[in-house]
Amino acid sequence: MLHLLRTEWLKLKNYPGFWWLMGMTVLSYPGINGMFYFVYKTETSNSKQAAQLLKMLLGNPFEFPEVFRTAAFLSSCFVTVPALLVIMLITNEYTYKTNRQNVIDGWSRNEFLIAKFFNVVIISLIVAALYSIVTLSIGFINTGADVKDKFQLANYVGLFALQTFAQLTFAFLLGLLIKRAFIALGVFIFYKIPVENISAELLKKYVHPEAGRFLPTESSDLLTPVPAFLGRFDPKVYDYSLSIINQQVFITIAYLLIFWGLVFWIYKKRDL
């Protein structure tokens, strides 16, 4: 396994595109959370009545333990950047035909995919680490010493990591199938935003009220529900979204098995 990782590192360490996208990934997670945090602070920190009303309405979504949920939700919106990185890692191999050269040089097809699997795992872990750093930073800055159970929602680190891994796996599958980076990214965004949302609504309406949550990326999207302050607009839906998280974990794992199973099966059957 180590030699697979070493070879992948040789491929990436001198690749400017990789470092640009990694840089964008590293900046985007603190960026999006920091931006919302500063907007919140700005809007609620003065003594005007409107600001105080807003504070009452929102509570403090950036305080422990709620910050775990808030940051997970906000961070999940930025999966497109690491998705592009993952797509690029596989489509580049097709563009340069290096995937076939790797096999010619002595890797099995499975070894090639295992190396890529670890790439996706490592990128997911980096994203999860970024989320954790941002969450802890904002949480410690913003939480008073009197708050107990600061890490009550620390399980969101695992949920966010699982969600990221599942969505990046879906991006990887698209990259493998489509072979062209920007078309694959376009399909990823198009599927995730309009297609799946519309499908979920249609399924909800015509098939079963809960059918939408079984869709490929919706299943993992639901691992990180909206922050509590947004839940106040419809407490019933919010409570329901919290109650299904454990089930979504199993559905997401099932999809992960299906996606990686497909990846290995397609690559075995396909001519390179």
């Binding site: 070493r6 040789l10 001198n14 340069y96 290096t98 096999v103 010619i104 040089d105 002595g106 390179l272």
Partner: protein
């Protein structure tokens, strides 16, 4: 011992049958040329034996063992086009080849870059190379770690005449050292100069294979000349055993079944019939001529 045994390989692309049951063996130490017009299935066959294409049916084995990634690691291969990471230098690309195959080390990387005359540009990005330089790097990757078997698909593609000559000399040198080289090429002259064995494919069918001598020689050709060509024609009109006669401006060619022509007998025959020959030679067919005959081009 056979290095490679190919048994009844078949491959289709949609309705196109690229290989129609090809079988042959490659003996150890051979320089085995695979010839064929465009679309004859040469690259398809090499791609199958290197596991980048899946055959529809048939089998192949290296050294009598089923193909495996570990066996492939000991084969230096250049298939179709040089496939490298465009953003990496020659050295960094060869480090990847080394990391995957286990062939060679840092010193071997320097040595092969010297060998293919890329050492001065070793730190330049692959994307900045000319076509010939890319091909040289692909040859360097194949040579890395001095593998006993080389599979080279059109190795002289994009090379200048000096480069072509260098590759020819390299192949002859490697052959003398006992390496087995499997080479697909369009350049019949090159194949004729370096190959010990040859297989000819046409539209997915193996037309012939064997030693170059066996493939080239399907008949004996004796070419003779004399001062009085008309009298020579007359004398030879009844020469026993000749299957056909070709008349050229200065010489006459007589064709005989393989292994039956005798220069001595012909010389004596002409002399006994009052003709002193000025020229007598047993000719071989050129590979080019034989190739066109076999492929009906």
């Amino acid at each position: 011992m056979s290095v490679l045994q190919v048994q009844d390989l078949k491959k289709t692309y949609g309705k196109i049958q690229a290989l129609k049951g090809v079988s042959f063996e490659i003996p150890e130490g051979a320089v085995f040329g695979i010839l064929g017009p465009n679309g004859s299935g040469k690259t398809t066959m090499l791609s199958i034996i290197l596991d980048v294409l899946n055959a529809d049916s048939g089998s192949y084995s290296w050294f009598g063992q089923p193909a495996s990634p570990d066996l492939r690691k000991h084969i230096g291969s250049l298939l179709e086009t040089p496939n490298f990471y465009h953003y990496l230098s020659a050295v960094n690309n060869l480090k990847i080849t080394n990391s995957i195959s286990g062939r060679g080390d840092a010193a071997a990387i320097e040595a092969v870059l010297h060998k293919v005359k890329l050492y001065e540009r070793r730190d330049s990005r692959f994307s900045s190379y000319s076509l010939g330089m890319k091909q040289r790097l692909a040859i360097a990757a194949a040579l890395l770690g001095d593998p006993q078997i080389l599979v080279l698909d059109e190795p002289t593609n994009g090379l200048d005449p000096v480069g072509i000559m260098e590759i020819r000399e390299l192949i002859i040198e490697l052959s003398k050292k006992g390496h087995t080289i499997i080479m697909a090429s369009h350049l019949l002259d090159e194949v004729e100069k370096v190959c010990t064995h040859v297989a000819i494919l046409k539209t997915g069918t193996l037309i012939t294979s064997g030693s170059v001598e066996d493939v080239l020689v399907d008949e004996d050709i004796v070419e003779i000349g004399a001062a009085d060509l008309e009298q020579l024609k007359h004398v030879l009109s009844n020469y026993p055993g000749a299957t056909s006669t070709t008349f050229n401006a200065q010489t006459i060619q007589l064709h005989f079944p393989k292994g039956t022509a005798s220069a001595e007998a012909m010389n004596r025959y002409c002399f006994n019939n009052g003709i002193a020959l000025q020229y007598l030679s047993i000719k071989k067919k050129r590979l080019e001529e034989r190739f066109f005959e076999l492929t009906n081009n």
